[in-house]
Symmetry: D2
Subunit: 126 residues, 4 copies
């Protein structure tokens, strides 16, 4: 499990005073990158090995929102590992209460389609 920290930025909060929904997907993208890096696989290394990841599905539950100035802590876990896809969960607690699951498919970095999960990625997800 990796903890990704994000300090909410002013422009991410809307007229309701809470983080606008789309920014959470931006946070999760950074959190995914941090999760891989914490496991020894910086994104640049994944790319130079010839692989990339693409989102195929995401589900988000908003129970209590983040606000300007909040220091979000996002817990990232691998919850499913398939043949060419895997799922990460993202949990934000503290004053906020937001949970998400995103499924990624592994693709060739040159755009030639999906690939089985390579060993260097499997080692991070296990």
């Amino acid at each position: 499990m990796t903890r990704y920290h994000h300090k909410v930025r002013y422009f991410e909060t809307d007229q309701q005073g809470v983080v606008f929904n789309m920014w959470y997907l931006g946070y999760f993208d950074e959190a995914m990158t941090a999760f891989l890096a914490a496991g020894g696989l910086p994104y640049a290394k994944l790319i130079s090995a010839g692989f990339d990841v693409q989102l195929v599905h995401s589900e988000i539950d908003w129970r209590a929102p983040l606000r300007f100035g909040d220091e979000a802590v996002i817990e990232v876990r691998a919850t499913r590992i398939g043949r060419s896809s895997f799922t990460l969960s993202f949990d934000i607690g503290g004053n906020a209460d937001v949970h998400a699951q995103t499924t990624y498919v592994v693709v060739a970095a040159d755009g030639s389609g999906s690939r089985p999960i390579p060993n260097l990625l499997a080692a991070v997800l296990d």
Copy 2:
């Protein structure tokens, strides 16, 4: 059903050459507003009647992405109407293939909590 049109902006596309995932939630927010307005309920009218909406759940499936210059057409439909919440579906076709469902809860505009769906909103969703 309402069709919302969006021309993909340069900065919405990332180094993979496709629209970065978070912007779809931005599109759907505008599409939701357009859906209400097309049904006779501009967002400002909802607010001045004392109501607002908040996202509680969203699911997105990305099968084929939007790219720079694409003219996205997003079809919006009400798929579920509950007591204080409702669900809209968002479908992007053409060269792209993206589908989403978002559930909204009706709240008091003054922040005092959830409310049953008011008549002026129910009339749009039915």
Copy 3:
């Protein structure tokens, strides 16, 4: 002169109820692309001819802001044409009052550095 139209999006407005400053640069980028396209040079054609443009300087004056729901009209004009750079002005009127000038340098699309303004671009700027 080209008029670029933009309907302000909800998430572009902040807790002060006005468009957050950075989004204007996003609008101007789209307005620049629209200006070139209106002159017969879609961005894709510029790229396939081997050229691209990069911002080197921008100045923005905010006198009265855009708000949610505003339909901005941005007037774009070429105000200076140099050897390898040019300047466009962006003027937003109506209820708002925002003015900007941005200088772009022409570069090779393959990243090999600046280039004199090519004829197909000069024809649009003149």
Copy 4:
């Protein structure tokens, strides 16, 4: 002088592989807030004292861009203090080379117009 740190996010980089221009204004906004906080004036304290700030002018020079993964260090300095307005400079060095100056006007937090720079803000700017 305050140093504000920002790790460039994936979605802030465009198809040219560099940070899209508008995000710099987002960075500078956070850097301004950090500058005030480092001087003992968190933004919330400014607001609760009855004041806010608005941008009136910004100038940006891009000489070398930030890229994905860059850890930007933004140096913030007060370069001019007027009666009701002040100017901050923002300098990004390292592999990048970006410089900006932004002028802010002090306004009443209740929207009733501009105000002389209050003592609690002057103490930070001096």
